[in-house]
Amino acid sequence: MGKIVYEKSKGLTDTPLHYCPGCLHGVVHKLIAECLVELDILDKTIGVAPVGCAVFSYRYFNCDMHEAAHGRAPAVATGIKRALPDSVVFTYQGDGDLASIGTGDIVHVAHRGEKITTIFINNAIYGMTGGQMAPTTLPGQKTTTSPYGRDPAHCGMPYRVSEMLATIPSAAYITRVSVYDIPHIVRAKAAIKKAFQMQIEGKGFSLVEVLSTCPTNWGLTPIESISWLKENMEPYYPLGVYKDVSASEGGN
C-alpha cells in the first residue's frame, strides 16, 4: 500500500451526495470540508444549509448544521454566531436563495459585519425547483420561466452579487472563483480557506462566490456545462477579489 495522496475528506460524512451527475455543488462541498479539516475547526463549526439543491447539505458536512428557511441562512447564522461567538459559522447558499429571496439578509449580514462566512453558489438558475430563472440568469438564457430567453427589456440584466456586496463597508472579504478545472479548484480552495481565516481573526463578513453548473436544468452534459460556464458566465461574472480588508493591512 502506498501513501494516500487524496481521499474523501473527513469533513464530509459517508452519506452519498444526492446531486445530479457532474454538478459542481459536490466539488465545492469537498473544498469546504477540506478547509474545515485543515484549519482544525470542524468541531467548532456550525453550518447553515439553504433551501435549494444544497438543502440536504446538512447530511454531508460533518459538523453541526442548521437547515434554514429559503433565503434566511444569513439571519440564522447571525443568531448562531451571536449566541456562540467562539464558534465558526458558515452559510452555503444558491443564487435563488441568496440573490433573490434572501437579498436583504445577505446585504445586512455584510452591513452588520457579522463574523460569518458565506459560500455562494451561482449557477444562474434555480436548480432545486426545476430550472426557473434566477436574478443571475444571463440575457437570452432559456429557463422554465424565461422560455423565450431572458429578456433584459422585460426583467433587467442579471446583477453581480460580489460587486454589489463589495460596496458594503463592513464586508471584509468578497471574491468570485470557479471550480471547473484543477487550477481553479486550487484557487477556490485558497479563497475559501482565507474566508474562514478572516472569520476566525474577527475581520468581519466574508463571502466566496463560486460560479457553478447545473447540467440538469441547463440541459447539457457536465462537460458541456463547463464550456458553457466558461464561455457565458465567466465573461459576465469576472473572477477575482472584490474586497479584501486584509490586503490593505499587508496581508496576501
Binding site: G2, K8, P16, G22, C23, K30, I182
Partner: protein, 72 residues
C-alpha cells in the same frame, strides 16, 4: 516522476466524466460497457502505469469517488 494508483468507489460514481477531463496523462476514461446499480456508466483508468499520482481526477470528482495513492 512519482507513480500513482487510483481506485474508484464505483457504486458512488455517477458517470459525469469530469475526471476524464483533467488527467494530465489522459488515462481516466469512461467504461461504457459497465453500469453500477444506480444505472450509471462508470469511470476507470486504462493504463495505471502512467499515473503520476497528481490527484487531479480525484480533486474534481464531485462525489469523492476516487482515492489516489502514491506508490514509489
Amino acid at each position: 516522476m512519482p507513480k500513482g494508483k487510483v481506485t474508484f468507489a464505483t457504486e458512488s460514481c455517477k458517470g459525469c466524466e469530469l475526471c476524464t477531463t483533467v488527467c494530465p496523462v489522459k488515462i481516466v476514461i469512461m467504461d461504457f460497457t459497465r453500469m453500477n446499480t444506480k444505472g450509471y456508466n462508470i469511470a476507470t483508468v486504462k493504463d495505471m502505469d502512467k499515473c503520476n499520482a497528481c490527484g487531479s481526477c480525484a480533486k474534481i470528482c464531485p462525489d469523492s469517488v476516487i482515492t489516489v495513492e502514491r506508490i514509489d
